[in-house]
Amino acid sequence: MNDAEPSTAVSAALPGAAARRRRRPWPWLLAAVGLAVLPVVPGLDSDFVRSLASQMGIAAIFALSFNMLLGQTGLLSFGHAVYFGLGGYVAIHGMRWINAGLPVPVALVPLFGAAGGLFFGLLIGSVTTKRAGTVFAMITLGLGELVVAASLMLTRFFGGEEGITANRTRAPQLLGLKFASQLEVYYLIAFWAFLSVVLMYAFTRTPLGRMCNAVRDNPERTEFVGYNPQRVRFLAFAVSAMFAGVAGGLHAVNYEIVAAEALGAARSGTVLLMAFIGGIGNFLGPILGAMLITWLQVSLSDFTTAWQLYFGILFIVVVLFAPGGLAALIALHVPLARARVVHKVIPGYLAALAPALIMALGGSLLLEINYRLATKPELGTRMTLFWVAMDVSRPWPWIAGVALLVGGLYAFRRSWALVEAGWQAASERIAGGGAP
C-alpha cells in the first residue's frame, strides 16, 4: 500500500489539533451514552446483540491492556492470557466465596480479577521484565506454557479440564441488580469496560505512562535522564496484568465458569491479533480490533470451520501492507475529511473493491474445498459453497476458484492505479490550500 505521500500530510495536521481534541470531554460522554442506550435501540435489543456486546467489552479491555505493553512500552507478549485467566480464576473463586456467604455484591467481582491479575503480574513480571525485546517475547511464551502445564496439574485451584463454576445470582444485591438477565450483565460489563478504558487512557497521560513510551523508543536515553528502564517495564507490566485481570473477572461473571482455555496460548494469540489488526499505534485501535475480531469469531464460525485460517491471512496482510492497523488507515483519511476532499479518493476505492472481492471469493472457494476434503473426508465430494452446489471431484470448481483468484488479483493490481490517482488529486487539493 502506498502511504508515503499522505503520511506527511497527517503528521503536519495532527499534533495541535489532536491535543486540542483530547481536552474535550464530549467524546467520552458520547461513548458513555452510546453504551447506555445500545441494548435498547430497536433492532439491537436482542439477547444475541447484548451477549455479543458483552464479549466485545471484555475483549476491548483485554486488548487495551495488551497494548499497554506492546504499543506503549514496546514489549511483545505471547502469554498475556495468563493474567486474563489467573484474574478470572481468582474472580470465580471470589464468586464462590460470595455464594458461600461473603457479603460482597457481584458487581465488585472484577476487583477480585484485578487483584489476581496484579498479584501474578508482580510475581511473574519480576522475572520476565528482566529482559526486553525479542527475549522478552520468548520468555512470555515459555512462562505461558508453564502456567498452562501447572493449571492441568493443580486441580484444586484450576478445576482441571472442567474448570471452576460459580453462580452470579446467589449473592447480596447492589441497587437491586440480580444479574439473572443478559441485559444486567451487559450493563455491568459496559460500566467496567468504560471505567477501565478511561483509566487506561489516563495512564497514558501520567508521567509513568510517558516514561513507558520513552523506554519503548530509547531505553538508553531513559537511563540517562535518571529512570531505570527495567523498573518502568516492570510497573507497566503489572498495571497491564491488572487490567487483563479485570477482563478475566468480567469473563468469570459473564460465563459463570473459568476453565484452562482462559489462560491458553490460543487466547494469547487472539489478543495479539486483535490489538495489531486494530492498530497498536493508536489508543482506540485495539478497541476497534477487539470489536472486529469478536464479531468475526462469532459470525464466521457459523459459516466456516476454517475461520482461524482467515484470521491468519488477515493478520499477515495487515503486518505486510498496513502495519499501523485499521486505526492508522482511518487516521490517514482524517486530514482529507478536514479538507473536505474525501470524495476524491472514494471512486478509486470502489473500483478496487470489486476485484478485491472477486479475488477473496476465488481464494476462499479454494480454501473451503480443500479444508472440507481434508477435515471431513467422510462427507464426500459434493458440497454447497456460496449457495452453489458443486462436485469437487470434477475439475470445474477448482478452475473457477483459480480463475477468480488470479483474475481478481490482476484486476486489483490494475485498479490500484485509480486509488493512487485519487490520493494524488486529494493531496494536490490540500497542498493548494484547500480551495475548491
Binding site: 508453564l146 494469540g269 482461524q308 484470521f311
Partner: protein
C-alpha cells in the same frame, strides 16, 4: 537401575541433539538478521509431513534429501518475499510476520493432511533392534538420528570455521556493511542462511517425525521448548545452544523415568503432609508428571541467576 540410566542417557542425548538441530538454525538466523523466526518449528513440522508424503511416493532415502531441500526453498521464499519486505517496518513486525506464518502453516497442514496424527512409521530399513543390553533393545533408527545430527553438527561447524562461505557469514554477522563494500551480496547471504536454517529444521523434522507424533500441533508443542533452549544457551551462541539442548534433553528424559514425588521424599525423611494441607497437591505431583514443565522452570531459574544465558553476550 544401570539399565535405566544407560537408556535414559541414550534417549536423552538423541532428544537433545534433535533440539540442537532446531535451535542451531534458530540461533544462527537470529544472530545474523536479528530475527527470531517464530515459524522455525513450523518448518520442522513441514519437514516431517513432506518426508511422509515423499516417502510414500519415492521411498525414505530420497525423502531424507528432498524434504529439507523443499522446505529450504520455502524458507528462501519467505525471506526474500516476506521478511525482507517487512524488515523496513522494524523488528516487531518481523517477529509478528513469522508468528502469523506459524499460524498459517498449521492451518495449511490441517488442510493438507487433516487434524489427526498421520501414520509416519519408521522406514523398514531402520526398523530393527541395533543391540540389546541387559533386557532392553535399542532401535536402529535412534542411532540413525544420532548419526545424522552429529554429522550435521560437524558439517555446520566445518562450514562456518573452515570454508570461505563460513568466513563471509561470520564477517556478515558483525560487519554487514563492510562485507557488502568488499563486493559480497549480503542480502543474498542472508537469504541463503535463512534457507539453510529452515532446511536444518526440516531435516530434524524428517528424522524426528517418526520418533514424535506427527500432528498439526507438533510445531506449537515443540516451538516453545526450542525458544527455551535458545534463551538458556544464550541468544546467538551455537555452543550455548548445544549445551542447553543436551542438558534439557537429558534432564527431561531422566525426569520422565522418575516415578517419585516430593511427598515420597518427605515421607522418607519422616515428614508426613496431610491431605488437607494447602501444599499437598503440589507435593503429590510425580516428577514424571512434571517433566513437561521442567524446561520452563529451568528458564525461570536461568533468568534469575544469569539473565543473558549460559554463553550469551548481550543483555537484551
Amino acid at each position: 537401575m544401570l539399565e535405566l540410566v544407560i537408556f535414559s542417557m541414550l534417549n536423552g542425548v538423541v532428544y537433545g541433539l534433535l533440539l540442537f538441530m532446531l535451535s542451531s538454525g534458530l540461533t544462527l538466523i537470529f544472530s545474523m538478521m536479528g530475527v527470531l523466526n517464530f515459524a522455525h518449528a513450523s518448518m520442522f513440522m513441514l519437514g516431517a509431513y513432506f518426508s511422509y508424503q515423499l516417502g510414500k511416493l519415492a521411498g525414505f532415502w530420497p525423502a531424507l534429501v528432498l524434504a529439507p531441500l523443499l522446505v529450504g526453498l520455502i524458507g528462501a521464499g519467505v525471506e526474500r518475499y516476506g521478511l525482507r519486505y517487512v524488515h523496513r517496518h522494524g523488528h516487531v513486525p518481523e517477529l509478528l510476520f513469522t508468528f502469523g506464518l506459524a499460524y498459517l502453516v498449521e492451518e495449511v497442514v490441517v488442510m493438507g493432511w487433516g487434524r489427526n496424527p498421520i501414520e509416519n512409521r519408521v522406514p523398514a530399513v531402520l526398523d530393527f533392534p541395533l543391540f540389546t543390553l541387559f533386557t532392553t533393545s535399542y532401535p536402529a533408527y535412534k542411532a540413525f538420528m544420532m548419526a545424522v545430527s552429529v554429522g550435521m553438527f560437524v558439517a555446520l561447524y566445518l562450514t562456518l570455521r573452515r570454508t570461505r562461505v563460513g568466513l563471509i557469514i561470520q564477517a556478515a554477522l558483525t560487519h554487514p556493511g563492510t562485507v557488502a563494500m568488499l563486493g559480497h551480496n549480503v542480502p543474498l547471504v542472508f537469504m541463503r542462511v535463512f534457507a539453510a536454517g529452515t532446511a536444518l529444521a526440516a531435516l530434524a523434522g524428517v528424522i524426528g517425525g517418526f520418533a514424535l507424533l506427527t500432528t498439526p500441533n507438533m510445531a506449537a508443542a515443540l516451538g516453545p521448548i526450542v525458544f527455551v533452549v535458545v534463551v538458556i544457551g544464550g541468544l546467538g551462541s551455537l555452543a550455548g545452544a548445544l549445551i542447553a539442548s543436551l542438558g534439557i534433553g537429558i534432564i527431561q528424559t531422566f525426569a520422565v523415568a522418575l516415578d517419585v514425588s516430593v511427598l515420597d521424599l518427605l515421607r522418607h525423611a519422616g515428614i508426613t503432609v496431610g491431605r488437607d494441607s494447602a501444599l499437598y497437591e503440589l507435593f503429590a505431583i510425580k516428577i514424571a508428571q512434571a517433566a513437561p514443565m521442567i524446561p520452563y522452570v529451568l528458564l525461570v531459574l536461568m533468568l534469575i541467576v544469569r539473565p543473558k544465558g549460559l554463553m550469551g553476550t548481550r543483555e537484551t
